[in-house]
């Protein structure tokens, strides 16, 4: 302890009191939360506004088209002159085809990449591969789109001669590649977060590296991995450019992957870039389709947060 009498300056406590920082601090502490609240409020209001518009226009659509024929209808013929039909199921089926293929492609590859990066890669390898993955994630989807149309489809046609120019397979695969970085990167984060002590515990028992990865790290990171898969699925559902370019525009209610399809997003693009008159059922239909899409992705996000809680392995 320094003896206060031997110092020439005042004590620190006195200096603090003299500096009189308190008043200014109090004002800042009062103002900052208000400003932050207003800024946060803007984004909340925007979301509310968008959802409100969506609901409002969707309700208008259902005044013109019965809701049951929309939900359960298996024919989507909005441009028919004689008898337009607005059954959403073909568009949902088109979306699900793409999503299914994408997930089947992306989950194994993304997980393998994540396991490699978190368990096997040297620091140097990781330093190179992670940025490459991030570049892959940053490629504009329109580029993926014409890559699907002009490269993947012709290559696939040499294997499957029956494959049409517009089909579900090619854009599905390419959407899969588009979401690989998301699964790989988020899963890798989850796996890297597993404490090393756990790996050591298993290794010390004679487990091999692969056993450690599969039976310790993977289960411990499961909630993060599943959440990444669900979020990536959500992106696949909402993906637009790739399917618009390479999927075609034939809404079909079947299980064929080789022919032209139409997804919900592609339909919205088709109408938005066309010249549907304001107030027509076609015009309002894009809101109804958009709202359906919104429900799907909302469900996915809900699922993701449920999974994160449900599969949380506490450590």
């Amino acid at each position: 302890m320094v003896n206060p009498t031997t110092r020439e300056r005042a004590s620190v406590q006195e200096l603090i009191a003299k500096a009189g920082n308190n008043k200014r601090k109090k004002i800042i502490e009062k103002i900052i939360p208000v400003i932050l609240f207003l800024i946060a409020g803007v984004s909340v209001l925007t979301t509310v506004g968008i959802v409100a518009t969506l609901i409002f226009e969707t309700v208008t659509f259902f005044r013109q088209v019965p809701i049951l024929s929309f939900i359960f209808g298996t024919e989507w013929l909005p441009f028919s002159n004689k008898e337009p039909k607005f059954g959403i199921l073909p568009l949902i089926v088109g979306t699900l085809k793409i999503t299914l293929i994408a997930v089947v492609v992306a989950v194994p590859i993304g997980l393998a990449a994540a396991i490699y990066l978190s368990e096997y890669a040297t620091d140097n390898a990781r330093r190179i591969i992670k940025p490459v993955l991030e570049v892959l994630a940053g490629v504009p989807t329109i580029v993926y789109g014409f890559f699907a149309l002009t490269f993947v489809t012709p290559v696939l046609q040499t294997i499957i001669p029956d494959l049409k120019i517009f089909n579900a397979l090619s854009p599905g695969i390419v959407v899969g590649f588009m979401i690989i970085p998301m699964i790989a990167s988020l899963s890798e984060d989850a796996m890297s977060a597993v404490p090393n002590a756990m790996r050591e515990g298993a290794l010390a028992m004679g487990a091999t590296k692969f056993e450690v990865a599969m039976k310790v790290v993977l289960p411990a990171a499961l909630s993060g991995i599943l959440a990444s898969v669900v979020l990536a699925t959500s992106r696949a559902i909402g993906e637009t450019m790739i399917v618009s370019l390479a999927g075609g525009s034939t809404p079909r209610f079947d299980a064929d992957f080789t022919g032209s399809i139409q997804t919900m997003t592609a339909y919205i693009v088709q109408v938005s870039t066309g010249d549907a008159g304001y107030g027509t059922p076609i015009y309002y239909s894009i809101y109804a389709v958009g709202f359906t899409l919104f429900l799907f992705t909302l469900l996915m996000n809900f699922l993701a947060s449920r999974i994160t809680k449900r599969f949380r392995e506490a450590y």
Partner: protein, 278 residues
């Protein structure tokens, strides 16, 4: 080759035992024989010319000030130290007569025979049951009845069966630190290893849990050879048969625990155990 080594080893022992004055006449067979071991972390020379014969069914305590290489040594015995980048070793460690650094000796095989308990309890984020069954399972035991048996036996062996028998399916992380540590000991017992390495297993535990683990170590030495790192002099004196005193990466003294604590040969050992430095 291996057989030959085994035989020579026994012969050497028979010949050497009477000469090793401080060791009791009934010297037990050597499990781990460290010969001229050196270890470097990059350019840092962490272990220097270690010679240490560790015997069967004994508790060998390793003591010494922080940073002297105790953990490094114990992690070298099951080659976990090689997980650190840039580690180099020279010399040899014979485990049951075989050099563990031999290219043909798989680390998995070694670690299946030599269990380890870490300083901080590190159970897997799984149920208590799955934690214990983990080792047997990865080594191919699938039969549910046998696994049940192993789990109970290991938990009993680690003196925690009564505390957890009604909640084997709860997550091991719902247990207290002391219980978790005993789960980790049970997990190590589950593959019925030959040797158990313990790196300050009680440093994160309260006195009562510590006592339980110490009693446990006493019981376990009936069937296992135990090497335990500890900062607690009383603990080393209470539970070990032999004590090795490490300083700056060297073994200063290795002898019967009684001898080390009552009549150490080296001044530095005496200074350390009487708390004059370290």
């Amino acid at each position: 080759m291996v057989q030959l080594m085994n035989r020579t080893d026994k012969e050497t022992q028979a010949a050497v035992s009477p000469v090793e004055a401080p060791i009791r006449e009934t010297a037990k067979p050597v499990v781990y024989d460290t010969k001229q071991l050196n270890l470097w972390y990059g350019s840092h020379h962490a272990l220097k010319n270690i010679d240490l014969p560790i015997r069967e069914n004994e508790v060998t305590a390793i003591i010494g000030p922080s940073g002297c290489g105790k953990s490094t040594y114990i992690k070298t015995l099951n080659r976990m130290v090689e997980l650190v980048d840039g580690v180099r070793t020279s010399g040899e460690i014979l485990y049951r007569g075989r050099n563990i650094f031999d290219a043909k000796y798989s680390v998995e095989e070694l670690r299946t025979r030599v269990g380890m308990v870490f300083q901080k309890p590190n159970p897997f984020p799984k149920s208590i049951y799955d934690n214990i069954a983990y080792g047997p399972r990865i080594h191919g035991i699938k039969n549910k009845k046998i696994l049940d048996e192993i789990v109970e036996q290991s938990l009993r062996g680690a003196a925690i069966w009564d505390e957890v028998k009604d909640r084997l399916s709860t997550n091991a992380y719902s247990l207290s630190g002391g219980q978790q540590q005993r789960i980790c000991i049970a997990r190590a017992l589950a593959i019925e290893p030959d040797v158990i390495l313990m790196d300050e297993p009680t440093s994160a535990l309260d006195p009562i849990s510590t006592l339980k683990v110490e009693e446990l170590v006493q019981e376990l030495k009936e069937n296992y050879s135990i090497i335990i790192v500890t900062h607690n002099m009383q603990q080393a004196a209470r539970i070990s048969d032999k004590t090795a005193f490490f300083l700056n990466g060297e073994v200063i003294e290795f002898d019967d625990t009684n001898k080390i604590f009552q009549n150490p040969a080296d001044q530095r050992t005496e200074d350390y155990i009487s708390g004059r430095f370290g």
